[in-house]
Structures are given as C-alpha cells and as structure tokens.
Chain length 339, copies 2
Amino acid sequence: MARHYVTIKDIAKILNISVSTVSRALRDTYDVNQETKEKVLALAAELNYKPNFNATGLAKGSTHNLGVILPFITNYYFSTVITGIQEVAYNNGYNIILFVTNDSPERELAIMENLSVSSLDGLLVSISSDSDSCSHFQEIVDEGIPVVFFDRVASEIDTSKVMQDDYNGAFEAVTHLIENGYKKIAHIAGPKGLSFTEARLRGYLDALKQHNIEPNEDWVVYSGFSQEHGEADTRQLLQLQHQPDAIFAVNDRKAIGAMLTLKNKGIKVGEEFGVIGFTNDPMSTIISPSLSTIAEPAFEIGKLSCELLIKHITKKYFHAEEIVLPGKLIARESSSRKN
Amino acid sequence: MARHYVTIKDIAKILNISVSTVSRALRDTYDVNQETKEKVLALAAELNYKPNFNATGLAKGSTHNLGVILPFITNYYFSTVITGIQEVAYNNGYNIILFVTNDSPERELAIMENLSVSSLDGLLVSISSDSDSCSHFQEIVDEGIPVVFFDRVASEIDTSKVMQDDYNGAFEAVTHLIENGYKKIAHIAGPKGLSFTEARLRGYLDALKQHNIEPNEDWVVYSGFSQEHGEADTRQLLQLQHQPDAIFAVNDRKAIGAMLTLKNKGIKVGEEFGVIGFTNDPMSTIISPSLSTIAEPAFEIGKLSCELLIKHITKKYFHAEEIVLPGKLIARESSSRKN
C-alpha cells in the first residue's frame, strides 16, 4: 500500500482552517495570529509533517535556480521578457530553468506535475491560454514556494504579479483611431477567457462608448494570436455587408496579418483603412506602411518580475505586489488621418 | 593556505601525456590503450584525485539538467533553435538551464568560470563572437562533461557539432543573384574570425570565381549582425564611386537594413538592385518587396544538437559526430531578374 504523507491540506482539514493559513503559519509570516500558529505547529509536529521539498534546497532559497514557465519563446514579446529576467538573474547569481508550454494546457499541467520543486528557489510563470493548472499553482504557493506571475496571470492566486496596462493601452489605441477619423472600428481579439485579452476588449469597448460610438457585435472576432489568425479574421470582416474602416488588433502579429490581407485586396492602409496593433514588435517598423502600435514594456516586465521573485525568496516578510506598467502609443503610418 | 586539489592537468604533467588522454582514461573510453589507462588510474588513486563534480550528479548523468549557452534569445534563429532543443529535452525528461552571453566574450567567460557543472548532465553551446572561452570549454570536455556545439562552434575542440552548410548556402545565394542578371555583387558580412561568417564569405567568393567575376575588395564590408549594421554597411557601399548592383547579406536582419536604406534612396529593390539574405526570418515575408533568402534549419539544429547531447550522456562509447545540415534557397521578390 502506498504510504500517505501528511500534507498541509490534511492539517487544514483537521483544524478546519484554510490551506493558505496553514501555509503561512508554517512559514511564520506576519499575518497569522499566534494562537493559530501554535495549533498548526503542534499538529504538524504530532503528524510528523514534512514539507515536500528538501531542507537544503528550496526552504532556504539555496539552489539558486529559478524556474520560468511560459507559452512560447519564439515571439518577440516573450523572448524580450526572458532577456529581462535573465539579466536580473545573472546579476544576482541565479540560473534560469526554462519550461515552454507551447501554449498547451496539457503540457503546462504535465510540467507542473513533474516539477522538481526541490531544485528551484522560485517560479516565474506566464500561464497558457485555457490553463488547467491553477490548482497546481495554488498548491505550490501554499507550500511556500515563491511564485511571481507575469503578463498572463492567474488572477485568483494570491501572489505577486507583473502586467502591462492592457485596458488603458487598448483604450488609447482605439481613441487614436477615432481621433484620426476612423469611426467603424473592428477588434480582432485573442481567445475568450484570457484576462489580458479581456482587458484589451474592455478598453476597446469603453473607448467607443466614450465617443458615443455604438459597438457592432459582428466587428469583434475572437481567435488565436498568429499572423494567420489575423489574416483569417480580416477576411471574415471583409465579407460582412456592413464593413469596418479600421482594425484594432490584440497584438502586432495579428495586425500584420490584417495589413497583408487588406493590401492583397487593394485596400489602402493608413489612407482609407486604419490599423493599429499592440506589442511594438520590430516587424511593425519593417512592414509598409509602418504599423502603429502600443509599445509593451517587455524587457521591464521581465526585469521587475525577476526582482520581485528574488525579494520573495530572500525576504521573510515580503508582501505580494501587483505591478501594472503603462504601455505607450506609437503612431506610425497605418493609422494616419483618414482621407 | 588554500588547499590544492589534484586535477587531471597534474596527472597529465606527471605522466607526460595529454590532458585529454588522462580524461579518456578516467572515463574508460575505447580509444586509450590499456597500459596508459592503468598508469593513469594508479596515479589518480595514489594522489587521491577526485573529479570536480559530485558523484551523484554529472558522472552518472542524473541531474537531468542540460545547460544551454548562447549569444541571444531575442532573435528568430536562436529562439527557434531553443524551441527545438526544448522539445527533445522535454520528451526525454531533461530540463533546460539557460545562459545568455549577450554575445560578450567577458560574459561568456564569467558564465563558464561560475558554471556549477555538478548540477548539469551536459552542455549545448553556441559561442559568442570573439569568444575567449575556448580553453574553458576544452577543460570541461577534458573533465568528461558532454558538450555539443551548435551553429557557432569552437572548431578546435574535439566534440560533437551541429551546423548548417554555410558555405554552400552562400554559394547558392550568390549564384542565384548572378543567374538573375546581377554581376556587381557586394557582401555585407559578419565580424571577421567567426567560423560561420568566414564560411559564408568563402561561398560568396567561390561563386563569383566560378562565374569568372573578379571580386572587388571595397564590396566586402565586415560589421555586426543587426539591422542597423546592415543600414550602415549599405550607406558605405552607396558612397563608393564604383557601386554594386546587388547585396548578399550574412543574415536577414542585415539584408532588411540594406533594403530599407536602398528604398530610402529611391533605389528599386528587385528591379535595379538585388538583395538576398540568410536565415528565413519571418520578417523576410513581411517586408516589401519580400526578401529572398537561404532558409536555415534552425528547429532541426536545436533538435539534433539535443539528441546528440543525450546520446553523449547516456551512451558510454558514443563517438563525437559532426552534422552539417543543408540550407534551402527561397527566391522571393528582392532578387527578381534585373531589368
């Protein structure tokens, strides 16, 4: 028969308190009252509870390995974030262990299940679309392992997070199109349910509302993040009887797909049809006309995430922080004033 | 006084044989004669020699961590190589520990000096331009740690290497320009001394020679790998009294820099001036006119390098292999027949 090891869940159940309270009591953090702490420690001793990491490793933050879990590395945004992470890690004597989920919830789950937490001091995570791993991340956080989410965050998990301001970036992008004479603005969005794509959608809708423009349901298309998705979404929009005169794309790759499709149809981008993206991928300066966009602070996001993680690892009483970095409108040719 | 640990260099010196022979004797490889092996083992025992990695880790290939040392991750080529490495590592239960040198020989050296080899089963390496670390890599190989070089290889070190066929790719690119009517072909090259840029230069020169075209020294410009380098190199070429009518660029980013500069000067790319690059970066399809190039098998290079490394780790008598993968000419608009 398999031996059952006592977990913090067992302790929480017996004492009828939350797993997170048990976790905080065991870690001796500031926000648990003394009585609860003593109860937890007494029961843990009685049941011979052992944390699921070895004492020489994670508990003391001494492996000097940081795990990074993220969907992709071949795109500009994520490779720039990793470069920021890597700079801070290197300067502080940490190694980066890289786990790429290919944006697959199954792969992400498999990585989480096989994660050797004893060889890591902490984790930096950007979740995959449709992530199934939130309970796994919660377990790891409950065990006292420092976790910082960046960009694609699991909002329900109480730990530090670093994001860009997706809502205001989208609001600014759409306002810019409106101010340049475009009034029939479509949005080619990301998949439903991902928090940052929802925030960009809300920014789009609120910018329309603020300018008394009625949103049109047909003009919001949800799909993936690739250039090909941008092409397909745009073909779909161009088949509508009532067509838009501008597109706000959830990222630059989709915006570039939109521009290539529009150019193929002989539609003049930046004259009769406005396009704006989100990222500031170097491709946006190379396509002609050049692509307007909201620049994301990718390097900064990597840098700050890693700095926060190291604070979680090295400071006993470090509060979780949520940092939201502003984007920046970069107006180029694709959103020039409508003729 | 600091204690001096016996190293394989000491053993080599005393026995007056090479470090690499000592290393092979200690690892019990096939290519050391029995007498030498016995001498080495006897002396190692006498001097109480201990390998500089712990026995539970590297020696048995049981950390399941692979180190990857490379110049950049923000460019398409390297991020695609890592994706290939990551796929094979994941499927074989290995983690990737990432070290980015920023193409700086000093950073590379610092990484090598601080490398905790006891936490690695092996290393995948693409050296930086002007690498100063060859002796460090040699030491690591001598200690019996599996190392595979990819793309930017240290040619003097005897271990497995995976490269693309830079010479033939360049030869094919330049031949293609010649066949399309361009005869005054310049080469905007990488830095001097890096083996793959030297190979591309030789391919360029031999293609000219084969078509009885006299090379012109002024038409070969050495610099870095960025788009900005491509722009500066092209401006330099356009200031010559005797100007070229085509450019073969060492990579796509430099080719794109060249195209943007030519377009700015009102020179019609793909009509009066031919351009071809090397990589097949997705940007090459987005710029207009689209960029002809030699497609590099980046994912395949990552995949094969990692497969080779795992063979080195798991097979006692695995011979070093050198694999050269062919590139593929992709003719697009920037090298269309000269008007």
